[in-house]
């Protein structure tokens, strides 16, 4: 964990027990004609695994954008470890050092090898080129790709590409993983393996994990499931209390 003073205009309560705390969070598009989030309230504890489920257009991806400071809320408050994300002095540094993103479509850079793709986020750190390379090798070994370092994305399978993307998300040792349908583009066997890998990393590194999915089988692996519809939270409870498969 890095000192957060450089991300936030003021440090309020860096010792908050919550990674994220949202109150009446709203997001509107097209001058209020489209309401992606209609005043949601939730908390995510540090090191917690929370799944966000719901149909397409329910606002779950918008929620992930807010958590990752990829977009700003229209109103309401959203705090990261006690600090308002709206007051971020340097959102890029926050994303670089606190957040690891895993995308459904992997979003690897096609002209870079697996080893190079993992190094991309490290350009915003003080690591030397040698350190960046060594860390990328270690991370790719950790996700089981020790023999695929110099392969370009086009020569990797879907599962391997997502493993590279997971290694990349860990490049700067983040405290939070934000995963957007990470198994959505994979066959069932690869999906199972990738999910195990993500959950394993979450436990091993005590990462806060917010995973967006429409697959209840995936969501049931989380400690909590937030169900959304039409920009609102329908329920927020443990998965064993979820009745719908």
């Amino acid at each position: 964990m890095y000192g957060m003073n450089k991300f936030f205009a003021s440090t309020v309560d860096a010792a908050s027990e919550y990674s994220f705390e949202a109150k009446n969070l709203k997001k509107e598009f097209d001058d209020g004609q489209v309401q992606a989030l209609c005043g949601v309230d939730f908390r995510v504890g540090q090191g917690e695994f929370v799944a966000v489920v719901g149909p397409s257009g329910c606002g779950k991806t918008t929620l992930l954008q807010m958590l990752g400071a990829l977009d700003r809320p229209s109103s309401g408050t959203l705090h990261y470890r006690g600090n308002s994300i709206a007051d971020l002095a340097d959102p890029a540094a926050y994303r670089s050092q606190e957040i690891g993103f895993i995308f459904q479509a992997f979003h690897l850079l096609t002209t870079f090898t697996a080893l190079e793709n993992v190094q991309i986020p490290m350009f915003e750190t003080n690591r030397s080129a040698v350190e960046r390379k060594q860390r990328a090798i270690d991370l790719l070994k950790a996700v089981g790709l020790a023999k695929r370092l110099d392969h370009f994305p086009a020569t990797l399978s879907g599962g391997e590409r997502q493993r590279v993307a997971i290694a990349r998300s860990l490049a700067n040792n983040p405290a939070v993983l934000l995963a957007d349908e990470p198994t959505g583009n994979l066959d069932s066997e690869n999906a199972r393996r990738i999910l195990e890998l993500i959950i394993g990393l979450h436990r091993e590194r005590q990462l806060t994990l917010v995973l967006v999915t429409h697959d209840m089988a995936v969501a049931r692996r989380a400690a909590r499931v937030i169900r959304m519809k039409d920009g609102r939270i329908l329920s927020d409870r443990q998965p064993d209390l979820e009745g719908v498969a």
Binding site: R95, S96, I120, E124, A129
Partner: protein, 371 residues
């Protein structure tokens, strides 16, 4: 992996488009090198010619024609007695087509004037006197006209003998047909007319003295203008026009290059919208994205510039060998011109990248989670 490699990989995403853009900018830079090299060659060739003749001050009226305007030969007598003037030599220079050569320098020189002294006979001999119907050819002129000692040469309607081949120590001298002043005056019907007076100053003459001498001459001879040999051609109107045309044409070509680079970089940014958004989502600062786009466009400029300089350096030699130019001047491509050309290319690259870089910096990182 370094940031430079990231930049280079960006250019390699679309190798054909990158190659075509490089070709576009290199043609623009090649035009700069070739055209400016020609105009600089004019100055260099004439300056070296005058240096070879041992000329310190030139009196002529360059005007806007390719050769100086003729004036009365007795003007020379008004100059000869001035302080610091060691010797004078009246010259009538003409540019004319001779047999197969479209444009040759024909230089009629005052018999026994010092401007004959630098000519070293390579074969044959010098004319016996001012009246002999004879010429000597510079070595390059002999090659161009395919003449040797003993051949005949026709200037306007007069046939003369080639009695010698000479080395004049400079390109212009070696590309000239040289004969006595009186002979050329008769052939061209310019009796009593000259268009250049070469002046050699005394050894103790300082630069300041040369300036003073030029001022004196300019007062005495309103029909012509005195200048030190080094600045004579570069101050001529024809050179200025040539230089303006060279730069004007070159800059138009460079402008095409600018549009090419800008188009490529804009296409690159549009195509890579999501990739750039992913980089932003991964924590790259907007400044780094701008830096990446600017580096890419600057590298396009640099590579295009280097290729353009190479093409231009070859191209200017090809241009110099064309019948219209051969013998008139030797193209001169200086290190400064090459450096300026590459600098122009890099600047062009950078400027062309400004707008695409700005556009890239405006992309929202939230695009990364869309699609």
């Amino acid at each position: 992996m370094t940031f430079f490699i990231v930049v280079v990989r960006g250019l390699m995403r679309r190798p054909i488009r990158t190659g075509l853009t490089l070709l576009g900018i290199s043609i623009g830079i090649a035009a700069v090198v070739a055209l400016v090299g020609l105009s600089q060659g004019l100055v260099e060739s004439w300056a070296r010619g005058m240096k070879a003749r041992g000329t310190d001050v030139v009196v002529s009226n360059m005007g806007s024609a390719l050769t100086p305007k003729p004036f009365s030969a007795p003007v020379r007598d008004r100059i000869a007695h001035l302080p610091h003037v060691a010797a004078t030599c009246a010259i009538l220079v003409d540019l004319t087509s001779i047999e197969t050569a479209q444009m040759m320098v024909v230089s009629g020189r005052e018999w026994n004037g010092f401007s004959w002294e630098n000519l070293k006979v390579v074969s044959g001999r010098m004319p016996r006197d001012a009246e002999e119907l004879a010429v000597v050819l510079g070595q390059a002129a002999a090659d161009m006209l395919k003449k040797k000692v003993g051949d005949r040469i026709q200037i306007e309607t007069t046939e003369l003998s080639v009695v010698g081949i000479v080395n004049g120590g400079a390109w212009v001298e070696n590309s000239s047909v040289i004969l006595s002043l009186s002979l050329l005056q008769n052939i061209t019907d310019n009796q009593g007319k000259i268009n250049i007076i070469d002046i050699r100053v005394t050894p103790d003459t300082s630069e300041k003295d040369v300036e003073t001498l030029c001022e004196q001459i300019n007062r005495l001879v309103p029909e012509a203008r005195a200048m030190s040999a080094s600045e004579n051609i570069s101050n001529s109107e024809v050179y200025r026009i040539l230089q303006a045309m060279s730069w004007g044409t070159s800059l138009l070509a460079v402008l095409v290059g600018v549009l090419g680079v800008m188009n490529t970089m804009l296409m690159t940014v549009f195509e890579r919208k999501q990739e750039i958004s992913v980089l932003l989502a991964l924590g790259w600062k907007r400044g780094r994205i701008i830096c990446m786009v600017l580096w890419e466009s600057a590298l396009l400029g640099l590579f295009g510039g280097v290729a353009g300089v190479a093409i231009g350096a070859v191209g200017v030699q090809v241009l110099g060998a064309t019948p219209a130019i051969r013998g008139l001047l030797k193209p001169y491509v200086s290190i400064e011109l090459l450096a300026i050309s590459v600098a122009i290319a890099v600047t062009v690259g950078l400027l062309s990248g400004l707008y695409p870089a700005w556009r890239s910096s405006r992309l929202p990182p939230s695009l990364a989670l869309q699609g």
